[in-house]
Every structure is written in structure tokens, then in C-alpha cells.
């Protein structure tokens, strides 16, 4: 259940940023989620919804884009996306293979795909503050 603590961190940041900018409500939260960050998005979404109740972000839409896992091969220098193992379609994710697709070496380093980044939020501002935020 580490989605709960991740959701807490996301909500904390979103509320803080919204308050700093004088927003009256948060309408949307956009995330980038690395494919090998072990985050179940349904759970994360549920926790965020619970944690934002009665806050500025109550009812905010959550949208996210997935960041593919990329690796650098320390043997042959390959840099690019990982391969995936084909699994039963009912699986929640495609299992990444971290060996180099070019030379099969396991000596690779993950370059991207571990993120849980709050990219931006869509916020609403009271009309009288419009000028401040234009």
C-alpha cells in the first residue's frame, strides 16, 4: 500500500502550490508516471480522491501519461527503451526486461521510467485576482 504515502506527497504538493498561487480550486492534476515506478494508478487515484476531500482540490480530475523505461547498456552503449515480456492480457502491466536488447548484457542502468512527477495543475482563481494571474 505504498500508493497511500505517494498520494499524500502528491496531495501535499498540489495543495501547497495551489495556495501559493492564490487559487480557489484545483480542477485537474497532471502526472507523469514511469512504467517501472511500482505505482498502481487506480489505487493512487482513489487515495488522492480521498485525501483531497474538503480541500481546494476536492473533485479534481487526475490525468497521467506513462513514461517508458529506458536503459543505458554499460557494455555496448545501447541507449533506448527496454523490451517487454509478453504476459497474459489480464496482467496489469507488461513486465520489463532490463537486459540490453542489443547485446543481452544485464549490465544496464535505468535512465528513465521511475518517475512520479506532478507536471502541472489546472487551477481556478477568483475573478478579482484575475489580473494578478494573467
Amino acid at each position: 500500500m505504498h500508493e497511500f504515502s505517494l498520494a499524500q506527497s502528491v496531495v501535499e504538493t498540489v495543495l501547497q502550490v495551489a495556495a501559493q498561487h492564490g487559487a480557489s480550486a484545483v480542477e485537474e492534476v497532471n502526472l507523469e508516471v514511469g512504467e517501472v515506478a511500482l505505482v498502481n494508478m487506480q489505487q493512487l487515484e482513489w487515495h488522492i480522491r480521498m485525501l483531497t476531500q474538503d480541500t481546494l482540490a476536492d473533485g479534481a480530475r487526475l490525468s497521467w501519461t506513462s513514461v517508458p523505461a529506458t536503459i543505458l547498456c554499460l557494455e555496448c552503449g545501447y541507449q533506448g527503451e527496454v523490451r517487454h515480456r509478453e504476459l497474459d492480457p489480464s496482467s496489469h502491466w507488461e513486465m520489463p526486461i532490463f537486459e540490453c536488447p542489443a547485446c543481452e548484457s544485464p549490465n544496464t542502468r535505468i535512465l528513465s521510467g521511475r518517475e512520479l512527477r506532478i507536471v502541472d495543475i489546472q487551477a481556478r482563481f477568483p475573478q478579482e485576482r484575475e489580473a494578478d494571474n494573467a
Partner: protein
């Protein structure tokens, strides 16, 4: 009428934890301490392996333990019997340690005379993976009783580790598990993997040597990204 606009945030939650982990690492290094994050499945033998290392090395290496668990008192008591300083890290509902919790633990822990800190993570092969704590060595322990496909099922946590240990190999036949397959699967992700049995002593020298080497490791930034 309301004005709606986009606010750029650009805050990565995983990265924020990593930054705290780096602070922990710097704190430890200023005090001449190296840390081993011992991760692994529930009941894989993490506590027993740490106890054994403490018992075999306590004459030559100053050690302390941070015992992370949903209720940390059980393991803490086991470690205290070996005469080392222990900080229990109760995670309650949480399934992993994060750098923030470890930071609090470090503030409570007297590191005077300590050269090596064991951080025993919560038994879990998924959640701890995303959370760097500031350790110098990340060890992942699994045992044959979890089934010999346990490694293949959890590629991410093995990719994140430095060393994998396949424990309880004395029981392999009883549970029809192939420990060599587990080692092979682990080597797809980690640079080093070996088999151990706390009962028969198989592989224990390699474990002890690894702990000893880590205690003597030169300071510096984390190598693994």
C-alpha cells in the same frame, strides 16, 4: 466567473525521496558510517542473516540496526540480544521504509563507534523498490520457500539491488525449488547473487565478507542510479 489557468509544478515525488536519501547518506558518511539496506520477502531470513553478521563481526566492526517493520519491536528485541544499538522504525500501515522515516531514525540513533548500519526494510518485494534510503549497499534476500519463480516475478526490485541472496537453500528439496534457477534469474538484474543457509552455513562466509567490505567502503556518491 472564474479564471482558470495552468500552474507548472514539476515536482517528482520519487526524486524528492531520493534527495532525502542523499542527505541521509551524507549524514552517515560524515560520521564514518556505511549502511546496508536489507530488503526481501516476508520470512526470507533477513533478520537471521543480520543477526549472524552481527554475531560474527562484532569483535571487528561497530554495528547498529534500524529495524523497520509494521511492528518493529519483535525484530528489535532479537537484535538487542546481540548487544548492538537498535532503533525500531514502526511503519504501521505502510509496507516500506522511506528516506524521511530513516532520517528520523538517524536522529534518534547514537552513531558513536558505529561503522556499519543495517537497515532492515519491511518484508515486501514491491513497495521498498521505489525508495532509496541513503544506503551504500542494497541487498535483496529471498528464500527457496517462496517458490523458485519469486525472482522472475519481481524484476524491478532486483534491478535496483546490488546483491541478491537466495536463502534457506537447505530446504530447497523439501519445497521442490531450484535455487540455481533463482540465482540465474537474479543475475539478469543484479551484478552479484549467491546462495546461503543460516542452518548449514552454506554461503555465510560470502555474506560476512560482503558486510565486512561494505563497512570499509570508501565514501562517495551513490553509484547506482
Amino acid at each position: 466567473m472564474h479564471d482558470v489557468s495552468k500552474i507548472y509544478v514539476g515536482h517528482d515525488v520519487i526524486e524528492a525521496n531520493r534527495a532525502l536519501g542523499n542527505q541521509n547518506r551524507a549524514w552517515l558518511e560524515q560520521r564514518g558510517v556505511r549502511a546496508i539496506n536489507v530488503m526481501g520477502a516476508i520470512g526470507s531470513g533477513k533478520t537471521s542473516l543480520i543477526e549472524l553478521a552481527i554475531e560474527m563481526l562484532k569483535a571487528e566492526v561497530g554495528m547498529a540496526v534500524m529495524a523497520g517493520d509494521v511492528i518493529a519491536e519483535f525484530d528489535s528485541e532479537r537484535f538487542r540480544r546481540h548487544g548492538v544499538r537498535v532503533v525500531p522504525l514502526n511503519t504501521g500501515k505502510e509496507c516500506h521504509l522511506d528516506a524521511h522515516l530513516v532520517q528520523h531514525g538517524l536522529q534518534e540513533l547514537d552513531l558513536d563507534g558505529v561503522e556499519l548500519l543495517f537497515v532492515e526494510n519491511v518484508g515486501n518485494l514491491i513497495c521498498p523498490s521505489d525508495f532509496y534510503l541513503g544506503e551504500h549497499l542494497r541487498v535483496i534476500v529471498v528464500s527457496v520457500t517462496e517458490g523458485d519463480d519469486i525472482v522472475a516475478k519481481h524484476p524491478v526490485i532486483f534491478k535496483d539491488a546490488d546483491v541478491a541472496i537466495v536463502n534457506k537453500v537447505d530446504l530447497a528439496e523439501l519445497v521442490s525449488a531450484d535455487p540455481d534457477k533463482m540465482v540465474r534469474d537474479a543475475l539478469a538484474g543484479v551484478p552479484r547473487a549467491f546462495k546461503t543457509s543460516v542452518r548449514t552455513g552454506e554461503g555465510i562466509q560470502e555474506w560476512i565478507q560482503l558486510v565486512r567490505e561494505t563497512a570499509r567502503q570508501a565514501p562517495g556518491p551513490e553509484q547506482r542510479q
